[in-house]
């Protein structure tokens, strides 16, 4: 951890299924408290750590207002996960929240203040409490993901939260929610792609992402595109290019290429690397955090995403002492498919200008030679706002331990780069290495 006094390792991970409670499919009758508890128990068991030995807790969450309008809700949740009395911090940084929480927990340990820290949260951003005012009795908050991605509604529901009122909220060149599309234009420009080539690349990424999600029992969307296409009486290629079944939401975004918003909980246990034997009793491979980096450029600044990416990667690589060619696996937040292309190039995982070529050849798939986000990612497995990092990081840890079963990448990764993004304004990068 660069200039800090000691190393930090991830020793346990746990995550719930990604789901929507109001669909009545999973975790029926459970509130966010229970779902947080089951994710934490999984992480504790994964590490073999006793929760009473954990020194502190960082709780990422974007929408405490939806979880019963409780402020600083970590205090009320602590007893559910065995942390009564422990120091805790509730953190919000848009959808980068849990990535920021991971970096903060790593610093808390690397600085020497704490030996063992938990990052854990529950995000129920799609629902609000029903008339009974209880967390297990929810009602949908408003628009579905598909509707949220659309322009006018995005402005109302998402844009208002993301864009600052001073100059951006009321200036459609900077706050239309279409910055997603400007990023698409940027990728096309620098990779010299036609719109059709760009569409094909994103379709390839989306297709392979669903293949991985179909093998992930915790993913929200598990039905392979082959089945969806067959039900529509089309080939997969026809289905994924069909304006009816894969409609456009804007110039460079089809519904299928954007993330699906879910509710979920997750937990990561970290400790000082030199104390792994004390805290981790399962004998599982500890995953070191070699370095982290972050950058923030508000949406509305030109090429904000790639500037965030490059600066965050540079800082993380400098702290960890790795180079782009060391990366075996890219654990990337993909709120939309083109984000994988941008991150792959900005991290140096693939040469600049080549992301589309790699995507079309299936090289980013879990069974490709340049694997990216093999749990199905935010697009298929789900995107639970403030805890979005946890399933992405958990997948990276499991890949690095060789625990991913049918979606295990061909060569067990030694070095993984995690990239998280929130609000289109914050990117966090972290370098993980199996010890």
């Amino acid at each position: 951890m660069g200039k800090f006094m000691r190393g930090v390792s991830i020793i346990g991970v746990g995550d719930s299924k990604q789901y929507r409670p109001t669909e009545g499919r999973d975790y029926i009758g459970l509130g966010h408290e229970e779902v947080l508890a089951l994710a934490c128990h999984e992480a504790y068991a994964d590490a073999g750590v006793n929760p009473r030995d954990i020194d502190a807790w960082v709780m990422p969450q974007v929408f405490p207002n939806l979880c019963g309008h409780t402020l600083g809700m970590h205090a009320a949740l602590a007893t559910w996960i065995g942390l009564r009395g422990k120091p805790a911090c509730h953190l919000e940084n848009a959808c980068a929240t849990s990535y920021v929480a991971l970096a903060q927990a790593a610093r808390d340990i690397a600085s020497g203040q704490y030996d063992c820290v938990l990052v854990a949260g529950a995000e129920f951003g799609n629902d609000i409490f029903g008339p009974a005012d209880r967390s297990y009795d929810l009602t949908p908050r408003g628009p579905t993901t598909e509707v949220m991605w659309k322009g006018e509604v995005t402005k109302q529901y998402v844009g208002r939260m993301i864009f600052a009122p001073a100059y951006r909220r009321h200036d459609p060149t900077k706050s239309s929610g279409s910055c997603t599309f400007e990023i698409g234009e940027e990728v096309m420009r620098r990779d010299n792609l036609t719109p059709e080539e760009f569409d094909n690349a994103r379709i390839a990424i989306t297709y392979h992402g669903r293949r991985a999600a179909a093998l992930n029992p915790k993913a929200y969307k598990q039905k392979p595109f082959e089945e969806e296409a067959a039900e529509a009486g089309l080939s997969v290629a026809e289905y994924m290019k069909s304006d009816k079944h894969s409609p456009w939401l804007g110039p460079y975004l089809r519904v299928a290429h954007g993330c699906v918003h879910t509710n979920a909980a997750g937990a990561i246990v970290l400790c000082a690397t030199d104390l792994v034997e004390k805290y981790c009793t399962t004998g599982k491979t500890p995953i070191q955090i070699l370095g982290t980096g972050s950058a923030c450029y508000a949406e509305g600044e030109v090429d904000h995403m790639s500037r965030c990416n490059k600066e965050a990667f540079k800082a993380a690589f400098e702290m960890s002492g790795i180079k782009s060619e060391d990366i075996d696996y890219l654990a990337n937040c993909n709120m939309y498919a083109s984000e994988d292309m941008l991150a792959a190039e900005d991290s140096g995982f693939v040469p600049e200008g080549k992301a589309a070529e790699y995507a079309l050849a299936g090289r980013f798939a879990f069974d490709g030679d340049k694997p990216i986000t093999t749990n199905g990612g935010d697009i298929h497995a789900g995107h639970a706002y403030g805890v979005a990092a946890i399933p992405i990081v958990a997948e990276a840890v499991r890949q690095m331990r060789g625990e991913c079963g049918p979606r295990q990448v061909k060569k067990i990764p030694k070095t993984t780069v995690v990239r998280g993004m929130g609000g289109s304004h914050t990117v966090v990068a972290a370098v993980l290495q199996a010890k």
Binding site: G29, E33, H41, T79, G82
Partner: protein, 141 residues
């Protein structure tokens, strides 16, 4: 280890509707979490089991509540004392419970009686069963 195999808070509230108080007991150290949670906050054990608590406790401290707490009962309870209680079970820990009818005017009388036994009182307020406590052996005037 809790995997979401059963609802916890819903089970608690439904038991209150039936006049039963549920808690969770640690299978390892025996500590009782009076608000049921799946993790032991005493020893860190991940295996808790349901237990039905006898609807009796000892009241160890009495304090009148300030006005804003009344809103928690939708205006249905205009006098309330927040009391430190402890169930009679082994492994029980102190918790806050409410006794209705105690005011600033009469509290001195009840403070003088501490500690005293109480029993559970299940009161339905606007469709939701609430748990209060009443003294055993004397009445609140």
């Amino acid at each position: 280890m809790y995997t979401g195999q059963y609802p916890i808070q819903k089970t608690y509230w439904e038991a209150l509707d039936e006049g039963r108080i549920l808690a969770m007991k640690c299978t390892k150290c025996g500590a009782i979490e009076s608000e049921p949670v799946p993790t032991c906050n005493t020893c860190g054990c991940l295996d808790m089991e349901w237990m039905e608590v006898k609807p009796e406790a000892v009241c160890k401290q009495v304090c009148t509540a300030n006005g804003d707490r009344y809103h928690m009962y939708d205006g249905e309870c205009d006098t309330l004392a927040v009391c430190v209680m402890e169930y009679l079970e082994d492994g029980a820990q102190e918790f806050y419970g409410g006794i209705r009818g105690i005011t600033n005017a009469n509290i001195a009388k009840y403070k003088a009686k501490v500690p005293f036994k109480v029993k559970a009182e299940f009161v339905k307020i606007k469709g939701m069963t609430r748990l209060f406590w009443v003294p055993v052996g004397f009445e609140i005037e």
